[in-house]
Every structure is written in C-alpha cells, then in structure tokens.
Amino acid sequence: MIRIIQSEWQRMWARKKTKVLLFGYLGLLLLVCWFLSVFRISFYDPAHDVPLNSLNTAPFLYRELSFFLVFILVPLLAVDSFNGEARSGALRMALIRPLSRWKVLMAKWALQGMVMTGLMTVTMWTGILFGMWMMPEVDTTTFYKTEVLGPLGAMGYILRYYSLGLLILMTVSGVAQWFSLWMPNAVFSYGGVIAFLIGGIYISPRMEFLLGGSDSIFKQLAPSPETDFIGLALGFVIISLTFSFLVWTRRDFKS
C-alpha cells in the first residue's frame, strides 16, 4: 500500500502544474501575511470587521486564500489525478501491475487527503506563528460572537476552524472526483465543479459554505450556530466517495 501511495506521489509531482500550484500557494501565503501585517484588520464577514492580535490572526489566512484553494488548487489536483491520468495514459502504467482497483483508489484518496491536510496544517501554523510574532501581544481574545478565550482556548478555536476548512476542501475534492469519473472530458469536469460551486447558492442558501467558506465557518463556530453545514458537507463527501468507488472499481480503463 505504501508503495502505491509513493507511486501516486511521484506521478503527482511529475506534473509541472502541481509544482506551480503548490509553490504558488506558498507564495500567496507569504503575500497574505504581508498584507495582514500592513493592515492589522480583517473581516468575519462583510458586516463585521476585527482588529488582529497575536491570538486571533490564524483563521484570516484561510479566509483570504479560500478562493484560490476552492476554485483552483483542490479541483485541479483532483481532476488531474482522476481524469487527467486516465486520459493521458499515465494510469495504465500503474494498472499494468497486478493491483486491486480499490487499492489504487485508496492510495489516491490517501494522497489527496494528505495534500489537503498538509496545506491546512501549513496554513494554520504559519498563521499561529505569524500572529504571535508580528501582531500586537494580547493575553485573551475573542472570535466571532464567542466568549473571551485564553491562549489555549484560542488554539482550540483555530484548530476547529481549520478542521472545518479541511471539511470544505474535502467536499470540493470529493465533488471534483465525482465529476471527473462521471464525465470523461476534463473541460466538463472542471466546468462542472465550478458550476456546482457557484450554482449551489441558486439551489439552496445552505450551499453558501462552498462559496463563502470562511464566513460560514465563523457562523458555525459561534456559540449559537447561525448556520449548519457539517451534515450537508459530510453528506456530499460520502455520496461522492461512494460514487467514485463504484465507478472506479467497475470502469474499463483499457479503452
């Protein structure tokens, strides 16, 4: 199993796009840090602004970067892994080996999960350390409508915030897998994901968490939650992973 994941990992980095995207992401991360250190103010949502301090800075890195993550990075990684490989023929080289289909799929899931978790962890720790280092020193802080939190409480909040951020990315990635396996054409799959992200709010306001990720997370983490997207997001993840599994283990990739 480890070897299959290694092989996935190598194939992922063999694509120049991956390097551009991930290093581009690190560049953007630094840019956002610089940006926040100049202004020292950010927003929970368009109506609520918040002065930054050494404890509450971390979530706002994700807030500024979520568009790039949700619209470009995560869908492209998923579409490349699930659609691009099958089309370009790179997948055949892996399927030549006597491997069970489901193991290859598990490796793909593991890799996507690792990359997304890694991204979120890097972002979170950059945010925490950057806040402590650059922002005005405080002992207690508050987040959107929460009570006053100490350093540990703030860390707990940030951790929960980034876990929900990861859940949103997993939803997007799951939907991107679903579209990639459903439609053979990469144009369709990527366009479908974007249409799903934007068109969702026309269907139901509950789908807002895909587009305005950070605002929804803050509302979710308020003491009396103003929104509840966890169930819906988990539902999307489960449905799309089931669908991926069913298609993946049955499809004939030779043709």
Binding site: R15, L21, F39, F71, L76, D80, N185, V187, F188
Partner: protein, 275 residues
C-alpha cells in the same frame, strides 16, 4: 478557407459539450428571471435595477457575463485549442496542405461565431423569460441615463450592451488563446483562465484598501484596467449619457486582445505540431 472553417465548425458542434452549453442557456435565463422576480419586491419600480421585460436581457447578462459566459468561453477555447492539439485531432487537419495561420484564423472565426450565436440565443431566451415572468412596463429607466426609454429604444440599448459584452469576451479570449496554445493540458489551461479571472477580480479590491494613495482619476483607471470589472460595471458606464473615460475602457479591451492575442498567434503558427 471556407472549407476549413466549415470543418472546424462541424468538429466543434458535434461535441456534446456544445449542446450542453446550449441547454444551459435557457435554464440560466429562467433562473435569473425567477431571481429578479424575487428581488423586485425589494426595490422601487423607479430605479434601473427593477427588472421589467425591456431591461431584463441587460440585467440577466450583467449577472451571467461574469460567471457563465466567461466559463463557456474557457470551455470553448480549451476544446478548440488545447484539446485538439493534445489529443492529436489537429494532425488530421494538418495532413491537408494547410498553413497554421489559416487554421488559426478559421479557429478564431469559429470561436467568435459560436460566441455570437450563444449570445443571440441567450438574448432571445432572456426576452422570452422576461415576457413570461416579469412585469410589463411601457417605459423604464436605464443606468446613468436621464430619460426613460420605451421598449423599442431599450431594444437598441440591449443590442449595444450585448455588442460590448461580446468585445469583453473577445478580450478575455485573447488571454485564453495564449494559455490554450501554451499549456500542455486542458486542466492547466482552465486553471490559468480561472487564476486570471480571480486575480483580475482581486487586485481592484486590493487597490481599494490603498484608496488614499490614488487620486480619483487614477483609481478609476486602475479599477477599469481589470477585465471583469469592465464586464461588471464598465459596460453600463460606456452606454451612459456621459461615459467617463470611454477611450480608456475601449483601449483596455483592445490592449488585452492584442497583448495576449498576438503572441498567441505567433506561438501557434510557429510551432511544428507534427512532433
């Protein structure tokens, strides 16, 4: 040339993608009409945002240009350029005695022709959706215009609006053509297009934070150097009674088209696609 154009046209329109796009247009028009029917309750009939049959094509387009039509354009360029180059379909064309530049121009012709056709389809469906769903008024106000217009004058205005929308799509196509000729995969090209759009939306916002550093005119010029901002607010400004800086806006559109379009043409026509 005509035969080449016909071949391109047929190859494009036999794809399911095109028919899916055509199928999406009426859905988008009716969804926008339903949305504006709800939004009408919030605004007074005296303001231009109040949707009636006459101005609905413009309101619907303002909403769909930035999202749906940019996406459609990306899909079309990805299909016509990247996909065909990479999948090897282009080789079948190149077996014939054709030059790259001829193929390029027939592809550009097919792309623009398809976009015009899709705009016309959307125009028709938005009148239809408005006629069914929205209130009918004899005269209605327009953005930045003193005099209200009647149905017939409004029709002319709508045509101009769609014409300018087409020009903004041409400018965006300039960038996409470069990305589509250079990028090795369809996803790369789509990602580049999306990154261009997000970047163009964000830098005017970013500049908004540095607002005191600019004079009003400088800020205006900077703001409307971004393509999506022209699509969002620039077109009604161009059609106003007294448009501000119309030359700059048109210049920006021409600039995007040529700065990206010409290198794309040179790149496409220079490379030897057999290898």
């Amino acid at each position: 040339m005509i035969r080449l154009f016909q071949a391109e046209w047929k190859r494009l329109w036999k794809r399911k993608l095109l028919w899916a796009i055509v199928g999406v247009l009426p859905v988008a028009a009716f969804a926008a009409a339903l949305y504006y029917e709800g939004a009408n309750r919030e605004v007074s009939p005296e303001v231009p945002q109040y949707a009636v049959v006459g101005n609905f094509p413009v309101l619907a387009m303002a909403e769909m240009l930035l999202t749906l039509f940019n996406l459609i354009l990306m899909a079309l360029v990805a299909t016509l350029w990247t996909e065909e180059i990479r999948s090897g379909q282009l080789r079948l064309v190149l077996l014939r005695a054709q030059t790259f530049s001829l193929i390029w121009w027939s592809k550009v012709g097919v792309l623009l022709g398809t976009v015009v056709l899709l705009l016309m389809i959307f125009f028709g469906f938005s009148y239809l959706a408005g006629y069914w769903i929205l209130p009918h008024e004899d005269t209605y106000p327009l953005f930045y215009r003193a005099e209200p217009v009647d149905m017939w004058e409004g029709f002319g205005y709508n045509l101009q609006y769609y014409g300018l929308s087409f020009l903004t799509l041409v400018a965006f196509a300039g960038f996409l053509l470069l990305a589509g000729s250079v990028c090795r995969t369809v996803t790369g090209m789509l990602g580049a297009g999306m990154a261009f759009l997000l970047f163009s939306v964000f830098y005017p916002e970013l500049a908004g934070y540095f607002r005191p550093l600019f004079s009003d005119d400088q800020f205006f010029l900077l703001y409307f150097s971004s393509l999506p901002m022209i699509q969002w607010e620039g077109i009604v400004n161009l059609l106003a009674d007294q448009p501000q800086w119309p030359g700059w806006l048109m210049g920006v559109l021409a600039g995007y088209t040529s700065i990206f379009g010409i290198p794309a043409y040179l790149w496409f026509s220079r490379r030897d696609q057999w290898h």
